[in-house]
Symmetry: C2
DNA sequence: TTCATATTTCGATGATAATTTAAATATGCG
DNA sequence: CGCATATTTAAATTATCATCGAAATATGAA
């Protein structure tokens, strides 16, 4: 039914460094106000506003107004997946300053990928869940949750609808390729629920500065060791 | 190990209309000389040369010199997949001329997608293979080839290594989402082998003008009807 | 060697789009 | 209401980059 797609619509939008930085910030999963989205790439609010309206028009992000603030978020999971895919194909940027290097280190160590955990933490957690027999590789692009896994997640109190899970014996647990580690980690619905739980339990907290980086708390460290035998050495 | 990826490298390259048209032409799977890649988007050889060198530097395409010609092709399967994915997310372009409309119609009717068949022909063929019981849905992203299917492809003389296929009972038959039909069709290794066979048998031929469109021959029509009960009405 | 073709390099031009300054709108607070 | 904050709109400036003409290089053919 459709005519030829105009792919430059999307790519030229992501192709601008300022807009790319904005989208990247929104990959953290949080909706951010226009002001913050101006500060992050280091442009004036006017410039940011211009970019944001273009991104909205191009259906890459969506707005929600709360009082005098306008909160922007990624328009869909699809957009996040596209960004992550492009990241895995993109060349690494060369590090110029110590400050930049430290920021990169944080992001690679642990971050959110739209709505689930990524970086070394995300990968280590995925590996641990496999080792413990809670999840297993299903296919090129999906994970399976095992019987033990269902029991385990129930005991954690994740609030998953276990009956639905049982019906088709399968959870939407997408394998998400990590650009920094080049290893798959758990994304999809399960990934989102796990990340949400980690935040609620205060095992991880977001780092200041509006980046995607997250920090493991003391409590989180203890729990990860106890539940999944993940030591801090695994995350270095 | 990697630092933060510079995603604007790729997206800004694809973001230019001229370069996008070049990449799209190369999605046909054929390597094309610089001259042709200037003619298709309608720019001078000088302009084309400038774009081509950028695309090479960005690892999106690769060159091969034959005499005084330089043949350009997509750098990898990955690039083709990225292009196709972006296409499914992109808005349709509005048709302005009859000429343009006819070209779009051809492309939607039958085309190559890097190395396999797409468009209505690709989708109809896939449906037929499923109906006949030769292939089956395996997962969200893959097809399975059945026992009958293995037998069928052998009888066609596709030159597939059947022993390897039997070992894991599974062929790398990727489900490729079609931007024009929004339905999956067979890609991956199997898709490439099928398309190659169709070309060799002269059931399909490439259309002139360097686009991705292909045309079904009289012979092809007869064969498709006989083998898969595909009538021309299915392709309208 | 000489000529024609394919392609690239260089330098200049021009168009597009990001950015900025200035001003407007809209919301919340006292 | 009056003022501060958050954000957008409009107009002007500037920077980037695609494009093209001119010239160079490289290969093949005569």
């Amino acid at each position: 039914m459709n005519a030829y797609p105009k792919i430059t619509m999307i790519t030229s939008l992501i192709g601008d460094p300022t807009r790319a930085a904005m989208l990247d910030a929104l990959m953290g999963g949080h909706a951010l106000p226009a002001g913050e989205l101006a500060y992050i790439p280091g442009v004036t609010p006017q410039t940011a506003s211009s970019h944001l309206s273009k991104l909205v028009k191009g259906n890459l992000i969506a707005v929600e107004q709360h009082g005098r603030h306008r909160y922007y978020r990624l328009a869909s999971q699809e957009v996040a997946e596209l960004m992550e895919l492009i990241s895995t194909m993109s060349p690494p940027v060369q590090i110029r300053s110590l400050r930049q290097s430290q920021e990169m280190e944080k992001v690679r160590h642990a971050r959110t990928c739209y709505d689930h955990l990524a970086g070394k933490l995300g990968v280590a957690l995925t590996q641990a869940l496999i080792t413990k027999g809670y999840v297993a590789h299903r296919s090129e692009t999906e994970f399976d949750v095992t019987e033990q896994g269902i029991e385990h997640f129930r005991s954690l109190g994740l609030g998953l609808d276990l009956t639905t899970m049982k019906v088709n014996r399968r959870i939407f647990a997408k394998r998400c390729l990590d650009w920094s580690e080049r290893i798959h980690h758990i994304g999809g619905f399960l990934g989102a629920v796990i990340a949400k739980h980690f935040f609620e339990m205060k095992w991880i907290v977001r780092m200041e500065g509006g980046s995607r980086a997250v920090r493991l708390t003391e409590e989180g460290r203890t729990k990860l060791q106890a539940l999944y035998s993940i030591a801090m050495e695994d995350l270095v």
